[in-house]
């Protein structure tokens, strides 16, 4: 039963990164676009992401609920050491969610208030994606000091390092890449398709380059990730698969199709995440000075796990067809 819970956890995280990431990315993409293109993106995101975006957000909550029910130690440790970035992320989530809904439901679509909503939406999309990357980086970088006593060491330097800043930037880029790829398939006009296709392609190159830089920064600052990755055949395979997916993506992106580039882009990101996950396996939170916490050494009692697994399975029966139906119902008409 523990495996079912773990699988649900990873599915939720993956879906949050892919769907939620595309959602964040749409906001960030607006920042890097000309005024005319901003409107293009806004109209498109309203029609495609609008109906599903509340559902996207739920994946994060599912993951958190799984953590605090089934792996309370991980949840408590995570929210103690990473108190500050989690707080920052929450502020970002609040600002983003409300700005998105306000800008569409304000009865008077006049200048000033729309400008304000847009600004908040774009800024908080960027900020939240960046912080999420920092949190991810902090969890995997063997840098959290379990035995430290000084405030700065425990609550700040545990997550502010050159490597986590690099993963923050990386996650931001990933979001934009996912959004651009997703929006290709939602555009009806050839001109729009072309625009998003170019964006998507450019950002795939940036991911490739920045991913390398991030690993290099990790190497220089003694984050043991690169060495560990090279040693483990599983994580190395995941890494190679991400490379293969990227090459496949480059081959088919020119086609301007809807589904194949999306799947390829999703696969690239999935394998990058898998690489990171497998490297620190079985740990989920890594510490600087002692063994980290894993799903196995911090799982709750068997009865809790069993009930949770059933709740998730039954929930899945309701949720998954619902989400699929929702996404399909609001696909752009060909």
């Amino acid at each position: 039963m523990l495996e079912i819970v773990i699988i649900f956890f990873w599915i939720s995280i993956l879906l949050y990164i892919l769907l939620g990431g595309a959602d964040f990315g749409a906001g960030i993409l607006e920042i890097f676009s000309s005024q005319q293109n901003k409107i293009r993106i806004r109209t498109l995101t309203y029609h495609t992401i609008g109906p599903v975006w509340e559902a996207n957000h739920m994946w994060l909550i599912i993951a958190i609920v799984i953590l605090f029910v089934a792996f309370p130690d991980i949840y408590a440790t995570f929210s103690t050491y990473l108190h500050i970035p989690v707080l920052l992320m929450l502020i970002g989530i609040i600002a983003r969610g409300t700005a998105f809904i306000f800008r569409h439901y304000d009865a008077y679509q006049d200048g000033t208030s729309q400008k304000l909503y847009n600004f908040i939406f774009m800024a908080s999309s960027l900020f939240t994606a960046f912080i999420l990357g920092i949190i991810g980086g902090a969890l995997i970088s063997h840098n959290i000091p379990a035995t430290a006593t000084h405030f700065l060491d425990i609550y700040v330097l545990s997550w502010v390092t050159p490597f986590t800043l690099a993963t923050g930037v990386l996650s931001t880029i990933i979001c934009v890449f996912l959004a651009a790829t997703y929006l290709i398939g939602e555009s009806n006009k050839a001109e729009d398709k072309d625009y998003f296709r170019k964006k998507s392609f450019r950002f795939s190159i940036v991911i490739f380059a920045w991913g390398g830089i991030a690993l290099l920064i990790g190497k220089i600052t003694d984050v043991p990730l690169l060495n560990m990755m090279l040693k483990s055949k599983w994580s190395l395979s995941c890494f190679i698969l991400s490379g293969i997916s990227l090459m496949y993506y480059w081959r088919i992106i020119r086609s301007g199709e809807k589904w194949r580039p999306r799947i390829a882009a999703g696969a690239v990101i999935m394998w990058i995440m898998a690489t990171a996950g497998v490297v620190i396996h079985p740990e989920i939170i890594t510490f600087k000075d002692q063994a980290g916490l894993s799903f196995y050494n911090s799982a709750a009692g068997t009865l809790t796990i069993r009930y949770l697994a059933w709740a998730l399975l039954i929930g899945g029966i309701f949720i998954i067809p619902g989400v699929i139906h929702l996404i399909v119902s609001f696909q752009a008409k060909e």
Binding site: V65, P72, L87
Partner: protein
């Protein structure tokens, strides 16, 4: 501000904010569904406009509620890691089910908001009803977790070790039914009266009267029925608390001394030092009756509890008085409404009646907040009643006061923004008698 007070204030503030949005998110979909039903059956334009504008309200409140709920799911760990470490596996069951309910709500809302003209009209209507049903289910499930804190069940506790954990038993704790019933009815009456009050105001001012009249009547009907049911559920709750949490009941009633024929203390000023209440109205024997259904029975007073296990008395007592007073007033207005609806329709047009409804706008939510304070403060100093004290659950992270100030600012801003946005919606409809266009 010390960290414990700061953390408690922040948690209270977050819950106090979330509860408003959660209540509206639970009830407004039903109002919207009633209006939609009328549009489907009568085809009158005003019902269409009403359905759509209420549905926008639902969307705005849903999202604000969803983000403040997300915040809460993290905040539990940020502020009370020790509590969550032990309680998570025990009381987590309702949260994992709530995830599904909330997901269904989000999916149904997606269908509803973006589905105009895309589905058959009754399927579309049904997705709206589903938003409400799953919203209520979420609320009821979340209350189960809070009820567990008041009435811990489903585990054995000895020397700091929690064993024999059974999440299902924990969910089915003794307080769940009474708390969930009271909260759900409260949500209906609070939202009903709040929405009715706003539309009554515009009706009174003479803005687009046909529209506001229908809106105000649908909302008030829902609020009035709920206001009538609430005292029954209140009575069940009081008897339940008398049994399970006598200290809470004693604090609610400022009942210091254990005695038979205990008086019901109404109002008054509580002096916590001399353990007495001045200037209050006392009804002899009535507290015994409310707590145990018998005028002679002994009611446990605060003197049965050591000083460090007593909840704060004055604030719990005042909150309780405020809650009951608001409830009574709403019941009275509800009574007038139901009678008038039935026989004396002209009363509904009277200025004094509209004025009364307008004055009742915030009452339901004041009662909700006050009731929430009663149940949370009345449980203190415990976070898990009788098992873990709130101060022992606190995070080691210092400087929580800054988080408190920051979130107080954010919530204030959000409250202002949402009110402003709602006001603009209504203003647009008043001016144009049609719906605002969306990009």
């Amino acid at each position: 501000m010390d960290d414990l007070i700061a953390a408690r204030s922040l948690m209270g503030l977050s819950l106090g904010f979330h509860i408003i949005f959660a209540c509206i998110g639970m009830v407004m979909p039903f109002m919207m569904a009633v209006a939609h039903y009328k549009w489907n059956t009568t085809g009158k334009e005003k019902y269409y406009i009403l359905t759509k504008s209420w549905s926008k309200g639902v969307a705005i409140f849903f999202v604000t509620g969803a983000v403040s709920g997300t915040l809460l799911s993290f905040e539990l760990g940020l502020l009370w890691p020790t509590f969550m470490k032990h309680a998570g596996p025990i009381f987590g069951m309702p949260f994992s089910l709530e995830g599904t309910a909330f997901f269904v709500e989000a999916i149904a809302l997606g269908f509803y908001m973006y589905g105009w003209g895309k589905f058959s009209k009754w399927f579309h209507w049904f997705t709206g009803v589903l938003v409400g049903i799953s919203g209520v289910a979420s609320g009821v499930l979340v209350v189960a977790a809070n009820a567990w804190m008041n009435s811990p069940a489903g585990f054995n506790y000895q020397d700091g070790v929690y064993s024999n954990i059974d999440p299902l038993k924990a969910m089915m704790n003794d307080a769940w039914f009474t708390q969930a019933l009271h909260m759900t009815i409260a949500a209906f009456s609070a939202t009903g009266f709040a929405v009715a009050g706003i539309h009554a105001y515009h009706y009174y001012k003479g803005n687009y009267r046909a529209f506001h009249k229908s809106a105000f009547r649908i909302a008030l009907a829902i609020g009035a029925i709920a206001a009538f049911l609430q005292p029954i559920s209140g009575d069940i709750s009081a008897k339940d608390i008398a049994k399970r949490q006598p200290a809470k009941l004693a604090a609610m009633e400022a009942h210091y001394h254990t005695e038979p024929k205990a008086p019901l203390i109404i109002g008054g000023i509580v002096d916590e030092k001399s353990e007495s209440v001045k200037y209050a109205i006392r009804l002899p024997g009535f507290l015994s009756f409310l707590a145990h259904g018998n005028f002679d029975e002994t009611v446990t007073g605060l003197d049965q509890f050591p000083k460090d296990e007593r909840p704060p008395v004055a604030i719990t007592h005042y909150s309780f008085q405020v809650m009951v007073a608001c409830g009574m007033l709403m019941m009275l207005v509800g009574f007038i409404f139901i009678i008038s609806r039935w026989k004396y329709a002209h009363i509904l047009e009277r200025k004094w009646f509209l004025m009364l409804v307008i004055l009742c706008t915030p009452l339901g939510f004041i009662a909700v907040e006050a009731g929430w304070m009663v149940t949370e403060l009345g449980r203190q100093p415990w976070i898990i009643y009788g098992i873990m004290k709130t101060k022992d659950a606190l995070t080691p992270m210092p400087g929580i006061q800054y988080s408190f100030y920051m979130f107080a600012g954010i919530y204030l801003l959000l409250a202002v923004m949402v009110s402003w946005l709602m006001n603009r919606q209504i203003r647009y409809i008043n001016e144009h008698r049609s719906l605002p266009k969306i990009i």
